[in-house]
Protein backbone atom coordinates (compact mmCIF):
# COMPACT_ATOMS: atom_id res chain seq x y z
CA UNK A 1 0.00 0.00 0.00
CA UNK A 2 1.39 3.42 -0.84
CA UNK A 3 1.45 6.31 1.60
CA UNK A 4 -1.07 8.10 -0.59
CA UNK A 5 -3.84 5.64 0.15
CA UNK A 6 -3.56 5.92 3.94
CA UNK A 7 -4.62 9.25 5.32
CA UNK A 8 -2.08 10.95 7.54
CA UNK A 9 -4.18 10.60 10.69
CA UNK A 10 -4.65 6.88 9.96
CA UNK A 11 -0.88 6.50 9.65
CA UNK A 12 -0.51 8.28 12.98
CA UNK A 13 -2.96 5.90 14.68
CA UNK A 14 -1.06 2.94 13.25
CA UNK A 15 2.28 4.33 14.47
CA UNK A 16 0.91 5.13 17.92
CA UNK A 17 -0.58 1.67 18.38
CA UNK A 18 2.75 0.02 17.54
CA UNK A 19 4.54 2.42 19.87
CA UNK A 20 2.30 1.66 22.85
CA UNK A 21 2.34 -2.09 22.23
CA UNK A 22 6.13 -2.00 22.07
CA UNK A 23 6.22 -0.70 25.63
CA UNK A 24 3.87 -3.36 27.00
CA UNK A 25 0.54 -1.55 26.81
CA UNK A 26 -2.35 -3.78 25.81
CA UNK A 27 -5.37 -2.60 23.88
CA UNK A 28 -8.53 -1.74 25.81
CA UNK A 29 -11.70 -2.23 23.79
CA UNK A 30 -15.02 -0.98 24.98
CA UNK A 31 -18.61 -0.83 23.86
CA UNK A 32 -20.09 2.37 22.51
CA UNK A 33 -22.44 2.76 25.48
CA UNK A 34 -22.07 3.15 29.21
CA UNK A 35 -24.63 3.85 31.92
CA UNK A 36 -25.28 7.61 32.06
CA UNK A 37 -24.75 7.49 35.81
CA UNK A 38 -20.99 7.01 35.37
CA UNK A 39 -20.66 10.35 33.58
CA UNK A 40 -23.15 12.37 35.56
CA UNK A 41 -21.27 11.61 38.80
CA UNK A 42 -18.03 12.95 37.27
CA UNK A 43 -19.44 15.64 35.01
CA UNK A 44 -16.70 18.21 35.65
CA UNK A 45 -14.07 15.70 34.55
CA UNK A 46 -15.53 15.63 31.03
CA UNK A 47 -14.44 18.18 28.42
CA UNK A 48 -18.05 18.93 27.52
CA UNK A 49 -21.02 18.10 29.72
CA UNK A 50 -23.32 17.48 26.78
CA UNK A 51 -23.90 13.76 26.48
CA UNK A 52 -26.07 11.79 24.03
CA UNK A 53 -28.42 9.69 26.13
CA UNK A 54 -31.09 7.10 25.37
CA UNK A 55 -33.15 4.54 27.25
CA UNK A 56 -32.08 0.92 26.97
CA UNK A 57 -34.75 -1.77 26.49
CA UNK A 58 -34.86 -2.30 30.27
CA UNK A 59 -35.44 1.40 30.89
CA UNK A 60 -31.90 2.17 32.05
CA UNK A 61 -30.57 5.55 30.95
CA UNK A 62 -27.54 4.95 28.75
CA UNK A 63 -25.02 7.29 27.14
CA UNK A 64 -22.91 7.20 24.00
CA UNK A 65 -19.47 7.42 25.55
CA UNK A 66 -18.04 10.95 25.70
CA UNK A 67 -14.83 9.72 27.36
CA UNK A 68 -12.75 6.56 27.71
CA UNK A 69 -10.78 7.16 30.94
CA UNK A 70 -13.82 6.81 33.22
CA UNK A 71 -14.66 3.42 31.68
CA UNK A 72 -11.08 2.22 32.13
CA UNK A 73 -11.14 3.27 35.79
CA UNK A 74 -14.49 1.56 36.27
CA UNK A 75 -13.10 -1.67 34.83
CA UNK A 76 -10.01 -1.44 37.04
CA UNK A 77 -9.74 -3.93 39.86
CA UNK A 78 -7.66 -2.46 42.65
CA UNK A 79 -4.30 -4.14 43.08
CA UNK A 80 -5.08 -6.78 40.43
CA UNK A 81 -1.52 -6.24 39.19
CA UNK A 82 1.16 -3.86 40.47
CA UNK A 83 0.59 -1.68 37.41
CA UNK A 84 -2.01 -2.03 34.65
CA UNK A 85 -1.02 -0.53 31.32
CA UNK A 86 -3.63 -0.08 28.60
CA UNK A 87 -4.00 1.93 25.42
CA UNK A 88 -7.09 2.62 23.33
CA UNK A 89 -8.26 4.08 20.08
CA UNK A 90 -11.96 4.70 20.36
CA UNK A 91 -14.59 7.03 19.00
CA UNK A 92 -16.09 9.35 21.57
CA UNK A 93 -19.17 11.53 21.15
CA UNK A 94 -19.28 15.08 22.35
CA UNK A 95 -20.10 18.63 21.38
CA UNK A 96 -17.10 20.25 19.78
CA UNK A 97 -16.14 23.73 20.89
CA UNK A 98 -17.49 26.47 18.64
CA UNK A 99 -20.37 24.39 17.30
CA UNK A 100 -23.52 23.35 19.02
CA UNK A 101 -23.67 19.92 17.49
CA UNK A 102 -22.34 16.53 18.50
CA UNK A 103 -19.34 15.08 16.75
CA UNK A 104 -17.79 11.64 16.58
CA UNK A 105 -14.16 12.13 17.54
CA UNK A 106 -11.42 9.55 17.33
CA UNK A 107 -9.35 9.57 20.49
CA UNK A 108 -6.14 7.64 21.01
CA UNK A 109 -4.56 7.43 24.42
CA UNK A 110 -3.12 5.35 27.18
CA UNK A 111 -3.60 4.91 30.90
CA UNK A 112 -1.31 3.48 33.53
CA UNK A 113 -3.06 2.50 36.78
CA UNK A 114 -1.81 0.92 39.99
CA UNK A 115 1.18 1.48 42.22
CA UNK A 116 2.52 4.31 40.03
CA UNK A 117 6.15 5.20 40.73
CA UNK A 118 8.46 7.84 39.28
CA UNK A 119 9.53 5.49 36.49
CA UNK A 120 5.89 5.05 35.37
CA UNK A 121 5.42 8.83 35.25
CA UNK A 122 8.63 9.23 33.27
CA UNK A 123 7.56 6.44 30.88
CA UNK A 124 4.14 8.03 30.22
CA UNK A 125 5.75 11.44 29.65
CA UNK A 126 8.27 9.90 27.25
CA UNK A 127 5.50 8.11 25.36
CA UNK A 128 3.53 11.37 25.14
CA UNK A 129 6.61 13.13 23.75
CA UNK A 130 7.27 10.29 21.31
CA UNK A 131 3.62 10.31 20.22
CA UNK A 132 3.88 14.01 19.37
CA UNK A 133 7.12 13.39 17.48
CA UNK A 134 5.46 10.69 15.41
CA UNK A 135 2.84 13.26 14.34
CA UNK A 136 5.16 16.14 13.55
CA UNK A 137 8.75 17.24 14.10
CA UNK A 138 7.59 20.68 15.12
CA UNK A 139 6.02 19.84 18.45
CA UNK A 140 6.23 20.86 22.10
CA UNK A 141 5.20 18.98 25.23
CA UNK A 142 4.44 21.48 28.01
CA UNK A 143 4.74 19.91 31.45
CA UNK A 144 3.74 21.29 34.83
CA UNK A 145 3.25 20.02 38.35
CA UNK A 146 -0.02 21.34 39.74
CA UNK A 147 0.92 20.27 43.29
CA UNK A 148 3.21 23.32 43.54
CA UNK A 149 0.15 25.55 43.16
CA UNK A 150 -2.24 23.31 45.18
CA UNK A 151 0.20 23.09 48.12
CA UNK A 152 0.42 26.89 48.37
CA UNK A 153 -3.36 27.25 48.23
CA UNK A 154 -3.88 24.46 50.79
CA UNK A 155 -1.44 26.17 53.15
CA UNK A 156 -3.46 29.39 52.77
CA UNK A 157 -6.70 27.51 53.44
CA UNK A 158 -8.68 29.33 50.73
CA UNK A 159 -12.20 28.48 49.54
CA UNK A 160 -12.72 26.21 46.54
CA UNK A 161 -14.04 29.18 44.50
CA UNK A 162 -10.81 31.11 45.05
CA UNK A 163 -8.83 27.97 44.27
CA UNK A 164 -10.58 27.52 40.90
CA UNK A 165 -10.17 31.22 40.10
CA UNK A 166 -6.41 31.04 40.85
CA UNK A 167 -6.04 28.00 38.58
CA UNK A 168 -8.10 29.75 35.89
CA UNK A 169 -5.96 32.90 35.91
CA UNK A 170 -2.71 30.92 35.98
CA UNK A 171 -4.07 28.86 33.08
CA UNK A 172 -4.65 32.11 31.15
CA UNK A 173 -1.26 33.59 32.15
CA UNK A 174 -3.45 36.41 33.38
CA UNK A 175 -1.10 38.02 35.87
CA UNK A 176 -3.03 41.32 36.18
CA UNK A 177 -6.23 39.68 37.43
CA UNK A 178 -4.36 37.04 39.45
CA UNK A 179 -2.58 39.72 41.52
CA UNK A 180 -5.86 41.51 42.23
CA UNK A 181 -7.53 38.24 43.27
CA UNK A 182 -4.66 37.23 45.57
CA UNK A 183 -4.79 40.59 47.27
CA UNK A 184 -8.58 40.40 47.71
CA UNK A 185 -8.30 36.83 49.07
CA UNK A 186 -5.70 38.06 51.58
CA UNK A 187 -3.07 35.54 50.51
CA UNK A 188 0.25 36.17 52.26
CA UNK A 189 2.66 38.34 50.28
CA UNK A 190 5.25 35.58 50.07
CA UNK A 191 2.82 33.01 48.66
CA UNK A 192 1.16 35.55 46.35
CA UNK A 193 4.59 36.33 44.92
CA UNK A 194 5.26 32.60 44.41
CA UNK A 195 1.94 32.11 42.59
CA UNK A 196 2.60 35.13 40.34
CA UNK A 197 6.05 33.81 39.43
CA UNK A 198 4.61 30.34 38.71
CA UNK A 199 1.97 31.91 36.42
CA UNK A 200 4.66 33.28 34.11
CA UNK A 201 7.30 30.58 34.49
CA UNK A 202 7.86 28.66 31.27
CA UNK A 203 10.71 27.47 29.06
CA UNK A 204 13.19 24.64 28.77
CA UNK A 205 13.87 22.66 31.99
CA UNK A 206 17.47 23.99 31.99
CA UNK A 207 16.17 27.54 32.16
CA UNK A 208 13.22 27.00 34.51
CA UNK A 209 14.58 24.55 37.11
CA UNK A 210 17.04 27.02 38.73
CA UNK A 211 14.18 29.55 39.12
CA UNK A 212 11.95 26.85 40.60
CA UNK A 213 14.68 25.94 43.09
CA UNK A 214 14.95 29.59 44.07
CA UNK A 215 11.20 29.67 44.63
CA UNK A 216 11.06 26.42 46.63
CA UNK A 217 14.44 25.86 48.30
CA UNK A 218 15.06 22.38 49.78
CA UNK A 219 11.82 21.01 48.41
CA UNK A 220 11.52 17.26 47.82
CA UNK A 221 8.74 17.84 45.25
CA UNK A 222 11.13 19.93 43.14
CA UNK A 223 13.80 17.19 43.34
CA UNK A 224 11.24 14.63 42.20
CA UNK A 225 10.02 16.87 39.36
CA UNK A 226 13.58 17.45 38.18
CA UNK A 227 14.58 13.80 38.34
CA UNK A 228 11.50 12.82 36.28
CA UNK A 229 12.26 15.43 33.61
CA UNK A 230 15.96 14.51 33.58
CA UNK A 231 15.09 10.85 33.07
CA UNK A 232 13.57 11.57 29.65
CA UNK A 233 15.97 10.62 26.87
CA UNK A 234 18.01 13.36 25.19
CA UNK A 235 16.36 12.98 21.80
CA UNK A 236 12.94 13.72 23.32
CA UNK A 237 14.15 16.27 25.84
CA UNK A 238 14.41 19.12 23.33
CA UNK A 239 10.64 19.14 22.78
CA UNK A 240 9.88 19.34 26.50
CA UNK A 241 9.23 22.63 28.23
CA UNK A 242 8.02 23.46 31.71
CA UNK A 243 4.91 25.65 31.76
CA UNK A 244 2.83 26.12 34.90
CA UNK A 245 -0.11 27.47 32.92
CA UNK A 246 -0.91 23.81 32.21
CA UNK A 247 -3.43 23.15 34.94
CA UNK A 248 -6.42 20.91 35.49
CA UNK A 249 -9.37 20.71 37.82
CA UNK A 250 -7.73 20.11 41.22
CA UNK A 251 -10.75 18.00 42.24
CA UNK A 252 -9.50 15.32 39.83
CA UNK A 253 -5.87 16.01 39.01
CA UNK A 254 -2.70 16.15 41.04
CA UNK A 255 1.03 16.15 40.35
CA UNK A 256 2.27 16.09 36.77
CA UNK A 257 0.00 17.59 34.10
CA UNK A 258 0.94 18.06 30.45
CA UNK A 259 -0.34 19.20 27.07
CA UNK A 260 1.11 18.65 23.60
CA UNK A 261 1.14 21.25 20.84
CA UNK A 262 1.94 20.96 17.15
CA UNK A 263 3.00 23.89 15.03
CA UNK A 264 0.15 24.97 12.75
CA UNK A 265 -2.58 23.28 14.79
CA UNK A 266 -4.41 25.66 17.07
CA UNK A 267 -4.90 24.33 20.60
CA UNK A 268 -3.46 21.29 22.33
CA UNK A 269 -3.65 17.98 20.47
CA UNK A 270 -2.57 15.93 23.48
CA UNK A 271 -3.63 16.30 27.08
CA UNK A 272 -2.79 14.23 30.12
CA UNK A 273 -1.59 13.95 33.68
CA UNK A 274 -1.91 12.19 37.02
CA UNK A 275 -5.46 11.76 38.31
CA UNK A 276 -5.20 10.09 41.70
CA UNK A 277 -7.97 12.33 43.03
CA UNK A 278 -10.41 11.08 40.38
CA UNK A 279 -9.48 7.53 41.39
CA UNK A 280 -10.29 8.34 45.05
CA UNK A 281 -13.61 9.85 43.97
CA UNK A 282 -14.37 6.61 42.17
CA UNK A 283 -13.45 4.65 45.34
CA UNK A 284 -10.20 3.29 43.95
CA UNK A 285 -7.03 3.20 46.00
CA UNK A 286 -4.72 2.92 42.96
CA UNK A 287 -2.85 5.86 41.52
CA UNK A 288 -3.11 6.69 37.83
CA UNK A 289 -1.61 8.67 34.96
CA UNK A 290 -2.53 8.81 31.29
CA UNK A 291 -3.07 10.96 28.24
CA UNK A 292 -5.30 11.29 25.21
CA UNK A 293 -4.67 12.54 21.69
CA UNK A 294 -7.57 14.22 19.89
CA UNK A 295 -7.33 12.87 16.37
CA UNK A 296 -9.95 15.28 14.98
CA UNK A 297 -7.46 18.09 15.50
CA UNK A 298 -5.02 16.37 13.16
CA UNK A 299 -7.36 16.67 10.18
CA UNK A 300 -5.37 19.58 8.80
CA UNK A 301 -2.42 17.22 8.39
CA UNK A 302 -4.30 15.58 5.52
CA UNK A 303 -4.42 18.74 3.44
CA UNK A 304 -1.50 17.81 1.21
CA UNK A 305 -3.59 15.03 -0.32
CA UNK A 306 -6.19 17.44 -1.60
CA UNK A 307 -4.48 18.43 -4.87
CA UNK A 308 -6.11 15.62 -6.87
CA UNK A 309 -9.11 13.36 -6.34
CA UNK A 310 -7.40 10.69 -8.41
CA UNK A 311 -3.95 10.47 -9.96
CA UNK A 312 -4.84 9.04 -13.40
CA UNK A 313 -8.12 8.83 -15.30
CA UNK A 314 -8.43 6.15 -18.00
CA UNK A 315 -11.27 6.69 -20.49
CA UNK A 316 -12.76 3.70 -22.27
CA UNK A 317 -15.86 3.06 -24.39
CA UNK A 318 -18.63 0.42 -24.52
CA UNK A 319 -17.07 -1.24 -27.56
CA UNK A 320 -13.77 -1.99 -25.77
CA UNK A 321 -12.73 -5.52 -24.93
CA UNK A 322 -12.92 -5.63 -21.13
CA UNK A 323 -10.20 -8.30 -20.77
CA UNK A 324 -7.74 -6.10 -22.64
CA UNK A 325 -8.91 -3.02 -20.75
CA UNK A 326 -8.43 -4.83 -17.45
CA UNK A 327 -4.87 -5.88 -18.36
CA UNK A 328 -3.86 -2.32 -19.37
CA UNK A 329 -5.54 -0.88 -16.28
CA UNK A 330 -3.62 -3.20 -13.94
CA UNK A 331 -0.30 -2.37 -15.61
CA UNK A 332 -1.01 1.34 -15.20
CA UNK A 333 -2.19 0.92 -11.60
CA UNK A 334 1.25 -0.41 -10.66
CA UNK A 335 2.87 2.77 -11.99
CA UNK A 336 0.60 5.46 -10.51
CA UNK A 337 -0.82 6.32 -7.09
CA UNK A 338 -4.44 5.73 -8.10
CA UNK A 339 -6.40 5.13 -11.28
CA UNK A 340 -10.04 5.57 -12.21
CA UNK A 341 -11.46 3.78 -15.28
CA UNK A 342 -14.50 5.62 -16.53
CA UNK A 343 -16.38 6.40 -19.76
CA UNK A 344 -16.94 10.07 -19.15
CA UNK A 345 -15.09 12.49 -16.88
CA UNK A 346 -17.34 13.58 -13.99
CA UNK A 347 -17.66 17.33 -13.52
CA UNK A 348 -15.30 18.86 -10.94
CA UNK A 349 -13.08 15.75 -10.85
CA UNK A 350 -9.46 16.78 -10.27
CA UNK A 351 -6.88 14.46 -11.83
CA UNK A 352 -3.21 14.65 -12.71
CA UNK A 353 -3.08 12.56 -15.91
CA UNK A 354 -5.80 11.83 -18.46
CA UNK A 355 -5.44 8.72 -20.67
CA UNK A 356 -7.65 7.05 -23.25
CA UNK A 357 -7.86 3.32 -23.99
CA UNK A 358 -7.80 2.85 -27.79
CA UNK A 359 -8.76 -0.83 -27.76
CA UNK A 360 -5.16 -2.02 -27.42
CA UNK A 361 -3.29 0.38 -25.18
CA UNK A 362 -3.64 3.53 -23.09
CA UNK A 363 -2.70 6.79 -24.83
CA UNK A 364 -1.88 10.02 -23.04
CA UNK A 365 -4.53 12.71 -23.76
CA UNK A 366 -3.23 15.76 -21.88
Amino acid sequence: MTDLTIRNDEQVIFALRSLYEKYGYSQYKMTKFEEYDLYVRNKDFLISDNIITFNDTNGKLMALKPDVTLSIIKSNKNNSAPVRKVYYNENVYRVSKGSNSFREIMQVGLECLGDIDNYNISEVLSLAAESLRSISDECILSVSNIDFISNILDAEDVSSDIKSAVFKFIGEKNLHELSVLLKEAEISEENAEKLCVLATLHGSPDRVMPKLRELFPDCAEVDKFESILNSISDELNDIIEIDFSITGDSKYYNGIAFKGYISGISGSVLSGGQYDRLMRKMKQSDKAIGFAIYMDMLESLNEKFNDYDVDTVLLYSDSDDIAKLNKVLRELADKCASILAIKEIPQKLRYRVLMKFDGEEAKLCE
Binding site: E172, K173, N174, H202
Partner: protein
Protein backbone atom coordinates in the same frame (compact mmCIF):
# COMPACT_ATOMS: atom_id res chain seq x y z
CA UNK B 1 5.56 27.77 11.03
CA UNK B 2 6.50 31.11 9.53
CA UNK B 3 8.22 33.56 11.78
CA UNK B 4 5.78 36.31 10.88
CA UNK B 5 3.61 37.50 13.79
CA UNK B 6 -0.03 37.92 12.80
CA UNK B 7 -1.84 40.57 14.83
CA UNK B 8 -5.64 40.99 14.84
CA UNK B 9 -6.55 44.58 15.64
CA UNK B 10 -10.08 45.71 16.49
CA UNK B 11 -11.40 48.09 13.81
CA UNK B 12 -12.06 51.59 15.06
CA UNK B 13 -10.58 54.19 17.40
CA UNK B 14 -9.41 51.64 19.98
CA UNK B 15 -7.59 49.65 17.28
CA UNK B 16 -5.75 52.78 16.10
CA UNK B 17 -4.59 53.45 19.66
CA UNK B 18 -3.46 49.83 19.95
CA UNK B 19 -1.54 50.05 16.69
CA UNK B 20 0.30 53.10 18.05
CA UNK B 21 1.39 50.97 21.01
CA UNK B 22 2.71 48.26 18.68
CA UNK B 23 4.49 50.93 16.63
CA UNK B 24 6.13 52.29 19.78
CA UNK B 25 7.19 48.73 20.64
CA UNK B 26 9.16 48.68 17.36
CA UNK B 27 6.68 46.90 15.11
CA UNK B 28 5.73 49.72 12.79
CA UNK B 29 3.90 49.20 9.51
CA UNK B 30 3.49 52.65 7.90
CA UNK B 31 1.13 51.44 5.13
CA UNK B 32 -1.56 50.90 7.77
CA UNK B 33 -2.03 54.67 8.06
CA UNK B 34 -2.78 55.14 4.35
CA UNK B 35 -6.43 55.95 3.73
CA UNK B 36 -7.83 52.97 1.82
CA UNK B 37 -10.06 49.96 2.30
CA UNK B 38 -7.30 47.40 2.68
CA UNK B 39 -7.64 45.15 5.72
CA UNK B 40 -4.24 43.43 5.77
CA UNK B 41 -0.91 45.24 6.18
CA UNK B 42 2.53 43.72 6.35
CA UNK B 43 6.03 44.78 7.25
CA UNK B 44 8.15 41.82 6.17
CA UNK B 45 11.33 43.39 7.54
CA UNK B 46 9.90 43.58 11.06
CA UNK B 47 8.14 40.23 10.62
CA UNK B 48 4.70 41.53 11.44
CA UNK B 49 1.32 41.42 9.69
CA UNK B 50 -1.66 43.40 10.98
CA UNK B 51 -5.28 42.94 10.06
CA UNK B 52 -8.38 44.86 11.00
CA UNK B 53 -11.31 42.75 12.15
CA UNK B 54 -14.60 43.42 13.86
CA UNK B 55 -13.79 43.94 17.57
CA UNK B 56 -16.03 41.05 18.64
CA UNK B 57 -14.23 38.71 16.20
CA UNK B 58 -10.67 39.30 17.43
CA UNK B 59 -10.91 36.53 20.03
CA UNK B 60 -12.08 34.02 17.39
CA UNK B 61 -9.18 34.86 15.04
CA UNK B 62 -6.73 34.39 17.90
CA UNK B 63 -8.33 31.26 19.39
CA UNK B 64 -8.36 29.55 15.99
CA UNK B 65 -4.78 30.57 15.23
CA UNK B 66 -5.50 32.82 12.19
CA UNK B 67 -3.90 35.52 14.34
CA UNK B 68 -1.09 34.79 16.81
CA UNK B 69 -2.00 37.70 19.03
CA UNK B 70 -4.71 40.34 19.15
CA UNK B 71 -6.40 42.93 21.29
CA UNK B 72 -9.91 42.28 22.55
CA UNK B 73 -12.16 43.85 25.16
CA UNK B 74 -12.62 41.95 28.43
CA UNK B 75 -16.37 41.96 27.66
CA UNK B 76 -15.76 39.77 24.60
CA UNK B 77 -13.44 37.46 26.57
CA UNK B 78 -16.02 37.01 29.33
CA UNK B 79 -18.86 36.50 26.86
CA UNK B 80 -17.23 33.96 24.51
CA UNK B 81 -14.65 32.45 26.93
CA UNK B 82 -12.10 31.73 24.18
CA UNK B 83 -9.25 29.34 25.02
CA UNK B 84 -6.44 31.91 24.76
CA UNK B 85 -3.78 33.49 26.98
CA UNK B 86 -4.59 36.90 28.39
CA UNK B 87 -1.17 38.48 28.65
CA UNK B 88 -1.57 42.20 29.35
CA UNK B 89 -4.27 44.58 30.55
CA UNK B 90 -3.76 47.56 28.22
CA UNK B 91 -5.69 49.88 30.50
CA UNK B 92 -7.34 51.54 27.51
CA UNK B 93 -10.91 51.31 26.23
CA UNK B 94 -11.95 51.39 29.87
CA UNK B 95 -15.63 50.98 30.74
CA UNK B 96 -17.75 48.64 32.85
CA UNK B 97 -20.42 46.00 32.44
CA UNK B 98 -23.44 47.08 34.41
CA UNK B 99 -27.11 46.47 35.10
CA UNK B 100 -29.17 49.53 34.16
CA UNK B 101 -32.87 50.28 34.47
CA UNK B 102 -35.30 53.22 34.44
CA UNK B 103 -34.68 55.50 37.42
CA UNK B 104 -37.96 54.57 39.07
CA UNK B 105 -37.39 50.79 38.72
CA UNK B 106 -37.50 48.71 41.92
CA UNK B 107 -36.66 45.00 41.69
CA UNK B 108 -39.52 42.78 42.82
CA UNK B 109 -37.87 39.51 43.97
CA UNK B 110 -41.17 37.61 43.69
CA UNK B 111 -41.18 38.12 39.92
CA UNK B 112 -38.85 36.69 37.26
CA UNK B 113 -36.58 39.53 36.17
CA UNK B 114 -36.67 40.27 32.42
CA UNK B 115 -33.12 41.08 31.26
CA UNK B 116 -32.29 42.40 27.79
CA UNK B 117 -28.66 42.16 26.71
CA UNK B 118 -26.12 41.53 24.00
CA UNK B 119 -24.01 39.69 26.59
CA UNK B 120 -26.16 36.69 27.54
CA UNK B 121 -23.31 34.66 29.04
CA UNK B 122 -22.08 37.48 31.27
CA UNK B 123 -25.64 38.30 32.38
CA UNK B 124 -26.46 34.63 33.09
CA UNK B 125 -23.26 34.12 35.10
CA UNK B 126 -23.93 37.28 37.11
CA UNK B 127 -27.54 36.43 37.96
CA UNK B 128 -26.60 32.79 38.74
CA UNK B 129 -24.00 34.09 41.20
CA UNK B 130 -26.66 36.02 43.10
CA UNK B 131 -29.32 33.32 42.68
CA UNK B 132 -31.81 35.51 40.79
CA UNK B 133 -34.25 33.87 38.39
CA UNK B 134 -34.26 35.73 35.07
CA UNK B 135 -35.90 35.71 31.65
CA UNK B 136 -33.08 36.39 29.17
CA UNK B 137 -33.88 38.47 26.09
CA UNK B 138 -30.97 38.47 23.67
CA UNK B 139 -30.78 41.61 21.52
CA UNK B 140 -28.16 42.70 19.02
CA UNK B 141 -28.30 46.47 19.48
CA UNK B 142 -30.24 49.49 20.81
CA UNK B 143 -30.47 47.68 24.13
CA UNK B 144 -31.41 50.91 25.94
CA UNK B 145 -34.89 51.04 24.45
CA UNK B 146 -35.90 47.60 25.77
CA UNK B 147 -36.98 48.81 29.26
CA UNK B 148 -38.59 51.94 27.81
CA UNK B 149 -40.83 49.85 25.55
CA UNK B 150 -41.57 47.35 28.31
CA UNK B 151 -39.64 44.56 26.57
CA UNK B 152 -37.47 44.07 29.67
CA UNK B 153 -37.16 45.25 33.28
CA UNK B 154 -33.43 45.88 33.14
CA UNK B 155 -30.55 45.74 30.68
CA UNK B 156 -27.02 44.39 31.05
CA UNK B 157 -24.70 46.43 28.87
CA UNK B 158 -21.40 48.27 28.59
CA UNK B 159 -21.41 51.68 30.24
CA UNK B 160 -18.66 54.13 29.35
CA UNK B 161 -19.71 57.62 30.45
CA UNK B 162 -23.35 56.87 31.17
CA UNK B 163 -24.59 59.61 28.83
CA UNK B 164 -26.54 57.24 26.55
CA UNK B 165 -28.27 55.83 29.62
CA UNK B 166 -29.07 59.32 30.88
CA UNK B 167 -30.55 60.39 27.56
CA UNK B 168 -32.85 57.38 27.70
CA UNK B 169 -33.83 58.04 31.31
CA UNK B 170 -31.91 54.99 32.58
CA UNK B 171 -29.35 54.70 35.37
CA UNK B 172 -26.81 52.13 36.55
CA UNK B 173 -28.24 49.91 39.29
CA UNK B 174 -25.32 47.46 39.73
CA UNK B 175 -21.78 47.28 38.41
CA UNK B 176 -20.88 43.77 37.29
CA UNK B 177 -17.26 43.94 36.15
CA UNK B 178 -14.76 46.56 34.95
CA UNK B 179 -13.81 46.24 31.27
CA UNK B 180 -10.65 47.22 29.39
CA UNK B 181 -8.69 46.06 26.34
CA UNK B 182 -6.48 42.98 26.77
CA UNK B 183 -3.58 41.58 24.74
CA UNK B 184 -4.43 37.95 24.00
CA UNK B 185 -2.35 35.19 22.44
CA UNK B 186 -3.06 31.87 20.75
CA UNK B 187 -1.83 29.03 22.99
CA UNK B 188 0.01 27.19 20.20
CA UNK B 189 1.58 30.36 18.75
CA UNK B 190 2.72 31.40 22.22
CA UNK B 191 4.89 28.30 22.31
CA UNK B 192 6.31 28.38 18.80
CA UNK B 193 6.79 32.15 18.62
CA UNK B 194 7.30 32.71 22.31
CA UNK B 195 10.32 35.02 22.09
CA UNK B 196 8.60 37.56 19.84
CA UNK B 197 5.22 37.38 21.60
CA UNK B 198 6.79 37.80 25.02
CA UNK B 199 8.86 40.72 23.74
CA UNK B 200 5.72 42.46 22.45
CA UNK B 201 3.85 41.71 25.70
CA UNK B 202 6.71 43.14 27.78
CA UNK B 203 6.99 46.29 25.65
CA UNK B 204 3.25 46.92 25.72
CA UNK B 205 3.01 46.24 29.46
CA UNK B 206 5.81 48.76 30.00
CA UNK B 207 3.87 51.39 28.03
CA UNK B 208 0.69 50.80 30.05
CA UNK B 209 2.70 51.02 33.29
CA UNK B 210 4.22 54.31 32.14
CA UNK B 211 0.75 55.68 31.31
CA UNK B 212 -0.61 54.85 34.78
Amino acid sequence: MSNMINVALPKGRLGEKVYDMFEKAGFECPSIKEKNRKLIFENAEKGVRYFWVKPSDVAIYVERGAADIGVAGKDILLEYEPDVYELVDLNIGKCRMAVAAPKEFRDNPQKTLKVATKFSNIAQTYYNSIGRDIDMIHLNGSIEIAPILGLSDVIVDIVETGSTLKENNLEVKENIVPISARLIANKTSFRFKSEKIEFIAREIAAQTEADK
